[in-house]
């Protein structure tokens, strides 16, 4: 084994790349809170793409509390329930590999005399694929037993990324019924194994997949017993710290570091991915100022061809809201210009004709919050969830 020692005192921008755990910053309080929640129940983490959910998982996996064992996996490439069960078994075997405990129940299933073949799928000695439900159940039983052997308080956490893709894949490759069975199985296993917790997340909201499955007859509520966590952007303090660190790490010249870092982090809503991206695109030959940072961002997000794709938030209104699309546009326009807005102000802004029922507007506002367009403040006012989306909204719709 070759060991590499590298002293990197600075962080440089890495938009979209995989960050070393020590470079995932500003999430310590959230992570501590999540470990606390996991003492009692599993977690479903949901938020916009590129908000940093996977990075949070990476950080949790890299340094769990001493009585926790973790196994992390991106499930987006898995297309069948049998593959998923195999992957769960493998993860468990790897996580437990440094202990004396073996997966006894699984070994009984597979047979000690051989016949076990793992190449994407677990097979029984007779060559037939092992039943996936049986593999999952026995694996969970074995993990539970292993944790019990370790002593009171010991638990295992499966950090599963891209769960919605997994379910969607299974639904398409096998059938919606099998996807429903996987969901039900996970719920049942979670209830029966007190020393195992799940942390589920994904690029797309699980509720979108569930909506599709419910249309096929699914009536389960697999997330009911889970705590729902929405990480959101970094706090302004951490966002500015990250921006400043990256500006310096990338060798960007600034007349005033604090001003530039504050402006940059604020302009992209303190989302770490966007902070990395905007820093990476600042020209090194020039001296950055708050104005040049703003100008660059505006050019980037409004260019005819760009990779910020904020147009997505406009385009999805029609499929998401159907006949209420126009009302949603009115609400978002009003908030973009006048945020924060309370409900009565909203009524005045978007319901001049009095044609919109208040309850319909309340329902729409709830959906706009669920879909991360808006957020409701502690003062019961509405504002854009991300200032970056608000910025783009005003530019693209020529709002003052």
């Amino acid at each position: 084994m070759r060991h590499v020692k590298y002293h990197h005192t600075q962080m440089s921008s890495n938009p979209g790349g995989q960050l070393a755990p020590n470079q995932i910053v500003g999430r310590d309080d959230l992570i501590a809170n999540m470990w606390s929640v996991l003492e009692g129940r599993s977690i479903y983490m949901n938020d916009l793409r590129r908000i940093g959910k996977t990075q949070i998982m990476v950080k949790m996996h890299s340094s769990p509390p001493s009585d926790w064992l973790t196994a992390k996996c991106d499930l987006g490439g898995i297309h069948t329930a049998a593959e998923f069960a195999t992957q769960t078994y493998r993860l468990s075997a790897t996580a437990l590999s440094d202990t004396q405990r073996v997966l006894r129940s699984m070994n009984r299933l597979l047979g000690q005399a051989g016949g076990l073949e793992i190449a994407g799928l677990i097979k029984l000695p007779d060559g037939t694929p092992a039943p996936w439900k049986e593999v999952l159940r026995r694996t969970f039983d074995d993990v539970e037993a292993a944790m019990r052997d370790r002593g009171s308080g010991h638990r295992m956490l499966f950090l599963w990324d891209e769960v919605p893709f997994l379910l969607s894949n299974i639904s398409h490759r096998e059938s919606p019924e099998v996807a429903m069975q996987v969901l039900d199985m996970l719920r049942a296993l979670g209830q029966d194994h007190d020393r195992i917790r799940l942390l589920l997340t994904g690029s797309i909201g699980l509720h979108h997949v569930l909506t599709g499955l419910k249309a096929q007859g699914y009536n389960g509520s697999p997330l009911n017993r889970m705590d729902h966590v929405q990480p959101g952007p970094l706090t302004p303090k951490h966002g500015v710290e990250l921006a400043r660190t990256l500006l310096q790490g990338d060798g960007i010249r600034c007349d005033d570091w604090d001003q530039c870092a504050t402006e940059l982090a604020s302009a992209v809503g303190h989302v770490p991915f966007y902070i990395h991206r905007l820093v990476s695109r600042l020209p090194k030959a020039d001296t950055a100022t708050p104005k040049t940072i703003q100008d660059l961002l505006d050019r980037e997000i409004t260019a005819d061809t760009n990779d910020w794709d904020l147009q997505h938030y406009r385009d999805r209104l029609r499929p998401y809201y159907g006949p209420d699309e126009k009302l949603a546009l009115g609400v978002l326009d009003a908030v973009a210009v006048n945020e924060p807005l309370d409900f009565q102000a909203m009524v005045r802004e978007v319901n001049l004709s009095g044609a919109v029922d208040d309850e319909r507007l309340r329902a729409l506002l709830k959906l706009l919050c669920q879909d991360h367009y808006l957020t409701r403040t502690s003062e019961n006012q509405y504002r854009f969830y991300l200032s970056l989306i608000r910025r783009w909204w005003r530019l693209s719709r020529n709002l003052s």
């Binding site: 084994m1 070759r2 060991h3 590499v4 590298y6 990197h8 440089s12 921008s13 890495n14 938009p15 979209g16 790349g17 995989q18 960050l19 070393a20 755990p21 020590n22 470079q23 793409r49 590129r50 996977t54 992390k72 996996c73 991106d74 499930l75 987006g76 490439g77 898995i78 297309h79 593959e83 793992i118 190449a119 994407g120 799928l121 990324d161 891209e162 893709f165 894949n169 690029s203 990338d250 991915f273 991206r277 990476s280 090194k284 030959a285 061809t305 760009n306 990779d307 794709d309 997505h312």
Partner: protein
């Protein structure tokens, strides 16, 4: 007699990196920054995935050849393995992509990545083969970082279905030992649209066209490299600068065009060519100046002077014994092939201005 350094017009990876270094203009900062990011990927847990975007002839391969070259340093060679995929090979599944990566490694590092690994996949179903090859790749890589160079990433994304893209992405996420250096001719939906699996995954950099001054520096660098002292001096004169500006109006800042021009330019031909483009007896300017199709797009891949030689060894690659492999001069562009590449350049062809200097 000193031989003129070979400069491949269409496949810079076949040019000696030292020559590419000597003619580099405008992109030194981008190059050094990119090298540093991949270096960081090799020696730390931070893994970068770079994607360079530029039209045909914009200098993408030139750039990644130099990134690769600068990474061939003793302190990195023991910590990384490099897989430079042949741009003409297309993967239609993640398994095929894994095969291409492993084969590239096997050719370069046969002791570490035995060719028998791929042969052993025969007869397996695709899922089992993918699983086995993925495990073999990780095992053979050990705790090193794998730097994958992939040209025409946009083509790969067009041929890989979403289900396979998801498998690729999951593999990279589950095993953070990869760094990627990719190129594409344009920004494409697979990385720029929010609904795509690889949205935001790559650190994209657009290659800017050359300015007039960049173009003049490039021509100077080439003239210096090729020992054309008279042309070098002419490029310093006001007339020489004006002639380059005239060509720039037509070439649109495309580096490949200047490289092609350079082979046939001397002081006299540059002067005549530039004068023609300024209207001194040349064709109507609306045929030549902005608005006309950029010459870079006039050279479809099928018109490349010669096909690439067999895959082994990859150009510019240094094997473990330190031998650098390069092509011979058989790929040099001739006036005839350059003429094919420049159909929109009637004045130069009809007046016989494109001739060896």
């Amino acid at each position: 007699m000193t031989e003129t350094p070979f400069l491949s017009h269409f496949s810079p990876q076949w040019t000696r990196p030292e020559a590419l270094e000597q003619i580099l203009v405008q992109r030194e900062s981008l190059l050094s920054d990119s090298v540093e990011k991949i270096r960081e990927s090799i020696v730390t847990g931070n893994k970068h995935h770079l994607l360079f975007i530029g039209s045909r002839g914009a200098g993408k391969t030139h750039l990644i050849t130099l990134i690769h070259h600068r990474l061939q340093q003793a302190d990195l060679l023991d910590r990384a393995r490099f897989a430079w995929l042949n741009e003409d090979e297309i993967a239609t599944s993640f398994l095929k992509l894994l095969v291409l990566i492993y084969r590239s490694l096997s050719e370069r590092y046969p002791d570490d990545f035995p060719a028998s690994t791929i042969r052993a996949l025969a007869g397996l179903d695709p899922l089992a083969a993918e699983d086995k090859l993925g495990q073999s790749l990780l095992r053979d890589l050990g705790n090193l970082t794998l730097v994958v160079l992939m040209e025409n990433l946009d083509s790969l994304f067009r041929t890989l279905p979403e289900s396979e893209l998801l498998r690729w992405r999951a593999f990279v996420q589950n095993h953070p030992v990869f760094a990627t250096i990719g190129t594409a001719q344009a920004l494409f939906a697979g990385v720029s649209e929010r609904t795509e699996p690889f949205f935001g995954f790559f650190d994209t950099r657009h290659l800017e066209p050359l300015s007039v001054e960049d173009a003049r520096l490039l021509l100077k660098n080439i003239a210096r490299l090729q020992g054309k002292t008279e042309l070098l001096e002419f490029l310093e004169t006001p007339t020489g600068k004006a002639r380059v500006a005239a060509i720039h109006d037509l070439a649109g800042g495309n580096p490949r065009l200047y490289l092609i021009f350079s082979e046939f330019l001397n002081r006299t031909s540059l002067n005549e060519l530039g004068a023609s483009l300024r209207g001194n007896g040349g064709p109507p300017t609306d045929q030549l100046l902005p608005g006309a199709p950029p010459l870079a797009h006039a050279a479809p891949a099928g018109n490349r002077p010669t096909a690439l030689p067999p895959r082994t060894p990859h150009p510019g690659e240094t094997d473990r014994r330190g031998t650098v492999h390069h092509a011979g001069h058989h790929q040099r562009t001739t006036p005839a092939t350059a003429g094919h590449a420049l159909p929109a350049f009637p004045v130069a062809r009809s007046r016989g201005l494109l001739r060896t200097g």
